[in-house]
């Protein structure tokens, strides 16, 4: 039997150097060659080629779909109100089954406040008004003629990971807990371009964005964001935005609470101050221990999570595993992702998969030689502004026990000797 070299992490050539620099996290050297050889013998290559290799394949189709063998890779559905409002609630990206830094459009998480509208783009209009010199109406056809920009950005619901703020650790997989998070390439028109055409009045300091869904979801934010990196997005991952993501157009405000990326965008009103809508007062505000609430906390904090190995995914025996996860920050680029296998006592820097983009999901990887002993897996991200992902105790010290928003505390996955993995609070 050949001895195989430990595989280097995949990716660009610099990964090889990083791998050598960072090394393998190991909880003790263990020989695993014998077990691997036994597994191979039980599943030999047969004498005949399988049927799929000796019969003609399927013909062409207009829009491709995943393999039928991947049919269990689905969003986790969490409707909030049952039959009284079946379109209200969320579905979550199955982070534990995906890899890379982009989310397939069909698995992008959803959060709707009264279902997905079936919008005829020919009837859709975007109105820009309020404190502008010339209120304007844009049709979809008009916007499609504008110069466009692309932004690779994460969208994360402010309520993501909220289950981990409950008194007892929920036993659910990574996507069910942290999957109100997805990453895409978004393409559209710079909001500043449209506002310049309307002519911003000097008194305008905020703007309200409103959706054309039957909740008419609306949010206020500072006008500065429009002149920073906001776009009216028309495309997601190269194709037109899907209905669940705001077809025919949505606001994209990279790094901000997901809720501010208003879908099915129909109206932008420039104002002197915030409108104090339901979703920026009673919801998406952060109740603190002293009973006060932080309002208009737009930017999402630096955060990371190990997606594999993670809760519910078994580890079939000792050996080499890749610890892999996602890191992101509303403040900019990720500069460091560290991994601990001992519950935060010691840390090892993981390799960041290039390209590392501002306000985008960043994949990190670290090989781990698991010796079969219990372990506590954690990851901790640092962004370019020096923000470091907080430990659980640090995060909970600030907020009311009832606050479920902006949870960016460190996640702990407990690995047992039998390879089972659970969610624990540490």
């Amino acid at each position: 039997m050949k001895t195989r070299k430990l595989p280097a992490p995949a990716g660009d050539p610099s990964d090889r150097r990083n791998f050598l620099k960072h090394g393998i996290v190991s909880a003790g050297a263990v020989a695993v060659g014998a077990a691997t050889a036994k597994a191979h013998a039980a599943d030999p290559i047969g004498k005949d080629f399988p049927a799929f290799s000796v019969t003609p394949g399927a013909p062409f189709r207009g829009y491709g779909q995943p393999s039928r063998h991947e049919e269990k890779v689905l969003r986790a559905l969490t409707p909030g109100y049952g039959a009284i409002a079946p379109g209200t609630g969320s579905s979550r990206t199955p982070l534990q089954t995906l890899n890379g830094a982009l989310t397939p459009s069909g698995l992008h998480f959803e959060r709707h406040h009264n279902g997905v509208p079936d919008i005829d783009p020919a009837q859709h209009k975007l109105l820009i008004h309020g404190l502008v010199k010339k209120p304007l109406v844009f049709t979809e056809a008009a916007l499609l003629r504008y110069p466009m920009v692309s932004r690779t950005a994460f969208v994360e619901c402010a309520g993501n990971s909220g289950a981990n703020t409950l008194p007892a650790a929920p036993q659910a997989n990574c996507g069910a807990i942290h999957g109100l998070l997805s990453g895409s390439e978004w393409t559209g028109v710079s909001l500043s371009l449209l506002l310049d055409e309307a002519g911003v009045e000097p008194g305008a300091k905020w703007f309200l964005a409103e959706g054309a869904d039957s909740a008419a979801m609306s949010r206020s934010m500072l006008l500065d964001k429009a002149y920073d990196d906001a776009i009216v997005a028309l495309y997601q991952n190269g194709e037109r935005i899907r209905p669940e993501q705001g077809y025919p157009m949505r606001l994209l405000v990279p790094g901000y609470q997901g809720n501010l990326n208003v879908k099915w965008l129909r109206r932008l009103e420039l104002t002197e101050g915030p409108t104090h809508t339901k979703d920026e007062t009673s919801k998406y505000s952060m109740l603190m221990r002293d009973g006060k609430a932080r309002q208009f906390m737009f930017e999402l904090g630096v955060k990371s999570v190990i997606t594999r190995p993670s809760g519910g995914l078994g580890m079939p025996g000792a050996g080499l595993y890749e610890i892999s996860g996602l890191a992101w920050s509303g403040a900019g680029r990720i500069v460091k992702a560290e991994v601990s296998i001992d519950g935060g006592t010691s840390w090892r820097e993981a390799v960041l998969q290039a390209p590392v983009l501002s306000k985008a999901l960043t994949r990190f990887r670290l090989p781990w030689q698991w010796n079969g002993s219990p372990a506590m897996l954690q990851s901790r991200a640092t962004d370019e502004k020096g923000n470091v992902q907080p430990a659980r105790a640090e995060w909970t010290a600030q907020y009311s026990a009832a606050n479920r928003y902006h949870n960016n505390m460190i996640q702990t996955w407990a690995v047992k000797a039998d390879g089972s993995i659970s969610n624990v609070y540490l």
């Binding site: 009264n114 209120p135 008009a142 310049d196």
Partner: protein, 182 residues
């Protein structure tokens, strides 16, 4: 090599732009867009401007009393928000006063919402979820009055309209800290 090639292309493009100034040109990102938006009419803006500011800007004509709100609430709201706003299956609308700084905060319209105008705005645009925008302005004023009344914020003979609603002082008006510039 790559850098040189890139520079050469840019230089060529600049020359092209200069040479063809009176013909169609490649636009740079700093120049304005194609100006394809059309002017919005006052009627269009009025029809779509459903947001209500805390000072009352945007509130429509009409009015509604607490007593009228009793009937609206029973017909349109109680099935989801429970009798007298006690909740289930949807959110409770009453209670929780004085609980925000405790270990078990209860956030409702009465205990948490900073502005009464938000209640009118949200009910009109989104409630009931089975038929949003179906209530008349009078009905929205009336049910707003009712929800404020069951929270003990306005009296039983209160009438809500564009003048009275912005005057309502919500118990948690000062409970929010603006983090927009922090």
């Amino acid at each position: 090599m790559f850098t040189c090639k890139c520079c050469a292309v840019s230089a060529a493009a600049l020359v092209l732009l200069g040479a063809c100034a009176n013909q169609s040109t490649v636009q740079q990102s700093s120049v304005p867009g194609p100006a394809l938006g059309r002017a919005a009419t006052a009627e269009e803006i009025k029809a779509w401007s459903i947001s209500i500011a805390p000072g009352g800007a945007g509130l429509p004509a009409g009015s509604g009393s607490v007593q009228q709100g009793v009937a609206v609430y029973a017909a349109k709201c109680a099935a989801c928000h429970g009798e007298k706003g006690n909740g289930k299956p949807a959110d409770a609308l009453v209670g929780g006063l004085g609980t925000l700084a405790t270990a078990e905060p209860v956030r409702t319209v009465g205990s948490y919402w900073p502005y009464a105008t938000t209640l009118f705005d949200y009910v009109r645009r989104a409630m009931p979820t089975s038929a949003p925008m179906s209530l008349t302005n009078d009905e929205v004023y009336a049910v707003t009055a009712y929800v404020l009344n069951i929270n003990g914020i306005v009296a039983g003979d209160a009438i809500m309209n564009a003048q009275s609603l912005p005057q309502v002082k919500m118990p948690n008006r000062d409970g929010f800290v603006d983090y927009s510039r922090k």
